[in-house]
Symmetry: C2
Subunit: 293 residues, 2 copies
């Protein structure tokens, strides 16, 4: 696999910065240009060795790049695709790190147009509450999933190149359709984020919130960890995956109604059965993750 | 503060076993007798040095004890109080480690009768998924909350003794009424447990559960950690605190409905406001926990 001569990373945060560091460590990239709106973060990325040069202009920054990685919030990708269309080399590979895929694919189809075959939609699964170039680390993707959602239009060589790059970062790469992807992550990622934000907000709005928080312990802390995530990023994700998330909110509400009914009837046997089933499913999942694949 | 001459621990698991180890380390107990139904766990507790002798009979085990700690699931405490009433020395202090307090207090009032002034209801906040004597460790309560819910009947010297014992374990001891206690922990502990069980169960029941679990990552793992807790214990807790938990399930459902409405309207500004408010509340809470008190 040939190394990247010039990698343009648009949005040098946790995902883009960590990918740059991982590819550098793997000897898979010669030069990285960091592109962003905030020059403070870009200078920080330079100082940390995450990127080798910087630009606040997309068109100038991607000039001469053979691979372009877009890791901005998904809400900004449309205008970035506009800027890329006329600026990237015709054979350059474009990929992204967005947490939702149908909206990114729709934006790419509309904005990249004749460049669409060079675009490989991707979602590296390595969220964290921290953001910015300071959060980047070369081992972020080791043993993590990266999901590609290639289109019928996607050029096989472009897809192979993106797959090889993420593999070089240590990731486990798999493929889903954009629809499958958004359905999966609505349930296992977007819904839990919404539920965690909702619990913290419910507690925070109570008149006795101070007392409640003062006795909240480790269970509450872990359950709500994802409620410390970026509100802007999660607003965009929720809006982008709105229909799937609405359906899962309804499915969750139905499960809560079932649990509530068991509780209302003081049906201890039914509650224990539900809790046991959930506990066993979770423990089986944990074991499956420990098993080398 | 005088050390305990003979501590009887009924239910030698994470809480009771850790308390025994912590008091031993602090030089606050001379001899510990472990009482339980399962002789395998009791022998394990002996082998680990958690207890010095064992008994499978409550009345015989508590003979000569000056402090009795009941750390069984709350559903078993009524019958244990029955056995204690005629068996403990008149001046022995009885305390418990139950996660709900109104039900334990009601059982104590009904079953301990003339011994009630020697009973100090308590809740050490140090849950974990692991159970049994093997889970016990002497530092479990360091910097953790222990909430006492003394009654108007409780003898001040009994309360002072229990307070001193938990302080010797390294805990931060405070007092609430049983009603305050159950209201607080419905919101910050029992509700999150119910929500986590519900999410895992919802995912597990989907036809594509295998695919969903295979892409679930760190956010899902932390959010659902408490769904690996003991189903039997959490059945008892939910039933014991049923009214408070039902009210909080309804409050949570109302918050989810608000979030759902914002999403349904694609109200990005409203979603971001809710997420930001929750994020800020959680971050303020984390900072307050870091501040030495």
């Amino acid at each position: 696999m040939q190394p990247v001569r010039r990698l343009a990373v648009i949005g040098v945060g946790l995902i883009g910065g960590s990918c740059a560091l991982a590819l550098k460590r793997a000897g898979m990239v010669e030069r990285v240009v960091g592109i962003g709106r905030g020059s403070v973060n870009l200078q920080r990325a330079m100082a940390l060795g995450v990127v080798d040069e910087v630009s606040t202009d997309v068109a100038r920054g991607v000039d001469g790049a053979d691979v372009v990685l877009v890791t901005t919030p998904v809400g900004q990708m449309g205008s970035i695709f506009d800027a890329l269309r006329g600026a990237v080399a015709p054979d350059a590979v474009i990929t992204d790190g967005g947490s939702t895929k149908r909206d990114v694919v729709a934006a790419a189809r509309e904005r990249l147009v004749e460049r669409l075959p060079r675009f490989v939609p991707a979602h590296p699964i390595a969220g964290a509450e921290r953001s910015g170039a300071d959060a980047a680390r070369p081992d972020l993707f080791v043993q993590r999933h990266v999901v590609l959602t290639p289109l019928p239009d996607t050029a096989p060589d472009a897809e192979a190149r993106v797959r090889a790059l993420w593999t070089a970062c240590g990731a486990k790469v798999s493929s889903l359709t954009p629809e499958q992807h958004d359905g999966v992550f609505a349930a296992v990622s977007h819904l839990p984020h919404a539920l965690a934000y909702a619990l913290v907000q419910m507690v925070a709005e109570r008149p006795d919130a101070g007392m409640l928080f003062s006795f909240a312990a480790g269970g509450f802390r872990d359950f709500t960890r994802i409620a410390s995530s970026s509100p802007e990023m999660w607003r965009d994700i929720c809006l982008a995956n709105r229909d799937a998330l609405l359906a899962d909110l309804d499915a969750y509400d139905a499960m809560l109604a079932r649990l509530r009914m068991l509780l209302d009837r003081a049906d201890g046997e039914g509650l224990e059965r539900l809790f046991t089933s959930a506990r066993d499913a979770r423990d089986a999942w944990l074991r499956s993750m420990e098993t080398p694949q």
